[in-house]
Amino acid sequence: MTAFVDTLTPVLPEVIVTITACIVLVVDGLLPRGQSRLVLPAMTVVGLALAFLSGPLAPPSGQYFGGFVQIDTFTTFFRAVFIVLAVFATLVAPSYLDRRGIPPGEYYATICFSTVGAMTIALSTDLITLFVGLELMTIPIYVLAGMQRRDRFANEAALKYFLLGAFSSALLVYGFAWLYGVTGSTRYIDVATELQRIGLANGPTIVALALVTVGLGFKAAVVPFHQWTPDAYDGAPTPATAFMSVGPKAAAFAAILRVLVSGLAPLQVDWSTVFAVLAAVTMTGGNIVALAQTNTKRMLAYSSIAHTGYILAAVAASAAGPSATAAVLFYVFAYGVMNLGAFACLLYFDIEGSRGATLEELNGFARRQPLGAFAFAIFLFSLTGIPPTVGFVAKFLVIQPVLDAGYAWLAVFIALNAVLAAFYYLRVVVHMYMYDPETGVPMVASTRLLSAALGLSAVATIVLGVLPNSLYEWALQAANPLLRQ
């Protein structure tokens, strides 16, 4: 028995999150509806907090489960990211679920299951672990997207997301099969060694890598594999959208780093040009379409594509060494905090008969809800990349390896794209602060819990922008294991 427990301790955080999800489901069945409203989120948060705290209890870095699981600083970093995001997605949800009549137990449990999947991706050392994690993460999200069973937009979102998600998973698994066929192994290290030996310039390897890149590109919403994002984000319940827009994206980048960057380290020069071009196309495409949106939720959906582009630029620059990976990690964290915050701000506008805040509905929001508007403005400034916010530091850190790796044109692309993005982000601030509320504009929904969660992450956005050092040091540490492989 103790032997069994010992084998589980390396993945203690994952185990705790899984147990939390199960307990939430059971308790949901036992409690009357009125009580479950606040008990369930409280239990979820406590469970996630325990998982967070149990991280240091787990044994030190190393490989476990016969080499299927790798625990290192990289894993720890992403565990923390996913848990923080899940806590946030839990805190902002209760009153929304109430209003929309979404069963709370299912929501919280689904978030937890998806979080376990994302965490599994971060600790994978093997294509099989990776694929299990990826599916464990995405299948709950299909459910999340379609949780409002009677809403036709939610149905559209869930169906689209499911079809394209299944399609991309198929591509990915097919790519993995090719990789296995070419290299004879599913372990990253062996795959990398074998690829290094045979080189890139042969048909089967190119097919394998292309399939893997496209598959992961779908998951991260890289242009031109992004078409599912706007509809899926738009139709899903807003708290779920907030989670969907950051969790899976962060996980997709964890996978890209594990598989493509560390696995292909010797060959990265050939592969990074592809990423650089994809990055430029992705950020520009996302921004240009976002410019044309009049619905804030869709605008944020497209802008999240642009942010994929910025992160991908740092991935492309991995020749610059640890600073590139650290930039990816820092950006993923910063993006998680600010984008979740921005989507959650839309919960204020969740009124009967409205779907996600047109710009007109935002008019005069600063008068109706001064602190909420202030938090939203901070998230938007941060997404634009204006100091002193964490978004600015993230942009600075991304530009640095990109220049270092010799992609000066890509750095200029990032700068010009930030100007494009400034236009639509600041337009939201214009509507909140510079227009007066018109008569007939619906009141804003408000809950104290939502405001508290938003306030907390707005403060984090500023504090991490003014004092970014510890986060950056942590990201540097987390980037280390990838280089040694």
């Binding site: 634009t384 530009i399 050092n469 950056y472």
Partner: protein
């Protein structure tokens, strides 16, 4: 009396003022008191800082530093030299005047947010002039942007949203390219582990910047500063922003924000990239002369009083860049004096245009007239500032423009030579007399409209705002030597760095 960490205190005081502002946010009276007291305290502190400064020394003084992002070699490093030490009290004085004037009733809506925006703005403005680390400088440079965006956008005129977005997008386009250049400078500053963004260390390692590198990096820095300044042809945001901004916003925009561009050239672009400076110098000199003439010509035909003053700023800033890039002591000192003078005089002109507008609700020159009969006090003040702006000897405007022209005459490192560009630029001084005097005549003299007969002259608060500016205008005009003695040593050091790529200097 010496106060330790005075520059950090200068950055902290407005931030501390935000707290009581938030506590009393629903009580306009207390809000005004808090804002006025905070900015007054900041002003006094900056004067103490000026007293603690030892004039006649070239290096940086009152330097403070701390680690900020040690893994990247980025530090919190502040200090002042002869170029920046006068710009800081100018900033705090103009902020105090703006806040004092706004608390007199010019702003009625959301006054707590308005004052908060001004305090944040003040941190950014003071920060720009004291930062000696490029990262810190960039943060402060951008910190000025958001409050001004809100000030124009919330409390501005009818076309405020168009104007404020134009202002932000223009400025951001420049500064984001500068960010890329800053990162490039960081990468070029040393090998991995020894990279830095602090000015003294960059100056020591600037020999690593190749000519090609300097060409591009200077372009990126120059673009950011040229948009901020603004230089022709990047000036188109300025008239829109000024016309729509509330009076206090215009004062700060013209008085301080534009100076960040000129200051940036002197502090970073020239000393760090001497080769880039040489390569781009002819372009900038020609653009400066064009700005002087074009600004003056366009001012002449303006129908809107505020737009006229805005375009005159374009011309005045042309003198600043001209003076900086002729790379001699007269030109450089003239440019710094011109920045100070323009801050006081144009700040005052915007104040008076605002005072007038608040009473008559007219800005078109054709709608005004005869005000001199009704407002003797207003006319006297306004008249002196107009004369200072057109460069009347004895008032401050003359000194800066005269020195810049002198420097230009002596300069030969540009096609056609300084003896061609100097006289051409001097035409701008004549044009300034034309448009300013003509404007003054149409606004102040002639028959007065019935509607304006009952309007009151300056209120005590307005006089209190105008008097310090008037005193400085006369003082700097009669006795510029005091300022020149402070500016000159530091400026000559910058010029030595800019003209001799081999010149190295030890910083305290």
């Amino acid at each position: 009396m010496t106060i330790d960490h005075i520059l950090t205190l200068l950055l902290a005081v407005p931030a501390v003022g935000l707290l009581p502002l938030y506590v009393f946010r629903n009580d306009p009276r207390s809000v005004k008191q808090v804002a006025v007291v905070t900015t007054l305290f900041e002003l006094v502190l900056s004067l103490v800082m000026l007293v603690q400064f030892h004039p006649g020394e070239a290096g940086f003084q009152l330097v403070e530093q701390a680690d900020w992002l040690p893994s990247l070699g980025i530090r919190y490093l502040v200090g002042v030299d002869g170029i920046s030490v006068l710009l800081v009290p100018m900033t705090t004085l103009l902020t105090f005047i703006s806040v004092l004037y706004s608390s007199g009733g010019a702003i009625k809506d959301r006054i707590a947010s308005f004052m908060a925006a001004f305090l944040v703005l003040e941190i950014g403005m003071v920060g720009v002039f004291v930062s000696l680390d490029l990262f810190l400088f960039y943060v402060m440079f951008e910190l000025m942007l958001v409050p001004m965006y809100l000030i124009i956008g919330i409390w501005g005129g009818p076309r405020r949203i168009y104007s404020t977005l134009k202002f932000v997008i223009f400025t951001l386009a420049g500064s984001l390219l500068m960010l890329v250049a800053i990162v490039a400078v960081w990468l070029a500053s040393g090998d991995e582990g020894s990279r830095t963004l602090s000015l003294p260390e960059l100056l020591a390692s600037r020999s690593r910047f190749s000519a090609d590198f300097q060409f591009w990096v200077f372009l990126a820095f120059g673009l950011a500063f040229a948009i901020k300044l603004p230089m022709v042809p990047f000036h188109t945001w300025l008239p829109d922003a000024h016309v729509e901004a509330p009076t206090a916003g215009s004062i700060i925009l013209a008085g301080v924000l534009l100076k960040a561009g000129g200051y940036g050239f002197l502090r970073f672009a020239l000393p760090l990239f001497p080769v880039g400076t040489q390569l781009w110098l002819p372009v900038i000199i020609v653009l400066s002369v064009i700005a002087i003439l074009y600004g003056a010509a366009v001012s002449t035909v303006q129908k809107d009083l505020k737009k006229l003053v805005a375009y005159s700023s374009v011309a005045h800033m042309g003198f600043v860049t001209l003076g900086i890039f002729v790379l001699n002591s007269q030109g450089g000192v003239g440019a710094v004096l011109q920045m100070l003078n323009h801050g006081f005089v144009t700040g005052a002109l915007f104040l008076f245009v605002g005072i007038q507008y608040e009473r008559t609700h007219r800005r078109l020159i054709a709608d005004l007239g005869g005000l001199a009969n009704r407002w003797p006090l207003y006319t006297t003040f306004f008249g002196i500032f107009v004369l200072a702006s057109l460069g009347l000897p004895g008032l401050n405007g003359f000194v800066g423009e005269f020195l810049v022209l002198l420097g230009t005459f002596k300069f030969s490192g540009v096609p056609l030579g300084g003896l061609f560009w100097g006289p051409v630029a001097a035409l701008g001084v004549i044009l300034a007399a034309v448009y300013l005097l003509w404007m003054f005549q149409r606004v102040m003299y002639g028959p007065v409209r019935d509607a304006y007969r009952a309007l009151p002259d300056l209120s005590p608060i307005e006089v209190a705002c105008a008097v310090p500016l008037l005193v400085l205008t006369v003082l700097l005009g009669v006795f510029p030597q005091a300022a020149i003695a402070i500016i000159e040593p530091s400026l000559q050091q910058v010029l030595r760095l800019a003209t001799d790529p081999g010149f190295q200097v030890a910083f305290k």
